[in-house]
Symmetry: C2
Subunit: 179 residues, 2 copies
């Protein structure tokens, strides 16, 4: 699904890639949608390991933890030589208009995803490390959505420039360190 | 292609939607890729009318023109009740990994797209309207990529919150009016 997208992947392709008979797909999943949701959930679990690794690192300041998250994801994207982006972003653009089931799951994922970021941002604001003008939840939503945009641009360029540009600009403006 | 994506749209679907025999497709296009490039180019021409309308409006300051562009696009997205995003963004995530031909075209589109924005940003910087810390081309790339991220988030929510949040935050930080 990473390679061919939600629409471009048939049940036949999935079974063929898994070396499994088609009958066994039907035994495990009600539909391609149900399978895709399982894929999405497992992918999100993988994303959450990066969230925990970065945002729970108490040796860093809250602002540094935000940056650490983007650096961890940048490293993963480099591992795929900037050919693959984020499955949550891919599904958001491609699957959300076809499947109400997946769209609702994606909406729940974004809401769950932003929560630890909003907490970290609130902590940075409380410590006076970043500006307190905006609501932490709004800043968390903004950060994750804009970062998806940077990944989208990276995928077209097949190079990390958009990721690095994003980090440089965002940490010198929206998340600028307060003196 | 807006509805089903690049992968999800077959030549048969295209001909059926156009009420044209499949033979006539082959007479006009070498491949689905070639057809998709034509679709993309026409879509980009449509985007460029919004770019011109906003960035050539000399009754506005350069910074106001940037905001005007996002407002025009927001209006178009509202016209589709936030169910459709941007075809350039859709193709960037979905088609760029399948088709080197489309990926190269998308890269050229992003470079052409950013140019009038970089000029407008340079004008705003020269007038002291916004901060001059960053290169105008980098800021233009950042703006367009992050905006694609806001559109992605909008599509999942099927509501304009992510667009409005983006504009509020960006014009009070990265493109903040200098006093």
């Amino acid at each position: 699904m990473f390679q061919s997208g939600y629409q471009g992947t048939g049940v036949r392709d999935i079974c063929s890639a898994a070396g499994a008979p088609q009958g066994s797909f039907t035994n495990h999943f009600r539909s391609k949608e149900a399978f895709a949701r399982e894929v999405l959930d497992r992918y999100f679990a993988h994303v959450k390991t990066a969230v925990s690794e970065a945002l729970n690192d108490k040796s860093l300041t809250p602002r540094q933890r935000l940056k650490r998250y983007l650096d961890i994801i940048s490293g993963r994207l480099e591992g795929d030589r900037w050919r693959r982006g984020c499955l949550i972003g891919d599904f958001s653009l491609e699957a959300s208009s076809h499947s109400e089931f997946l769209r609702e799951r994606l909406e729940a994922i974004f809401q769950e995803w932003r929560t630890p970021f909003a907490e970290c941002i609130a902590e940075a604001q409380a410590a006076g490390e970043i500006d307190s003008k905006f609501d932490p939840v709004d800043l968390a939503e903004f950060l994750l959505a804009s970062w998806e945009g940077a990944i989208l641009r990276m995928k077209v360029e097949q190079a990390p420039a958009a990721l690095e540009r994003f980090k440089t600009i965002i940490f010198n403006t929206v998340f600028k360190e307060q003196k």
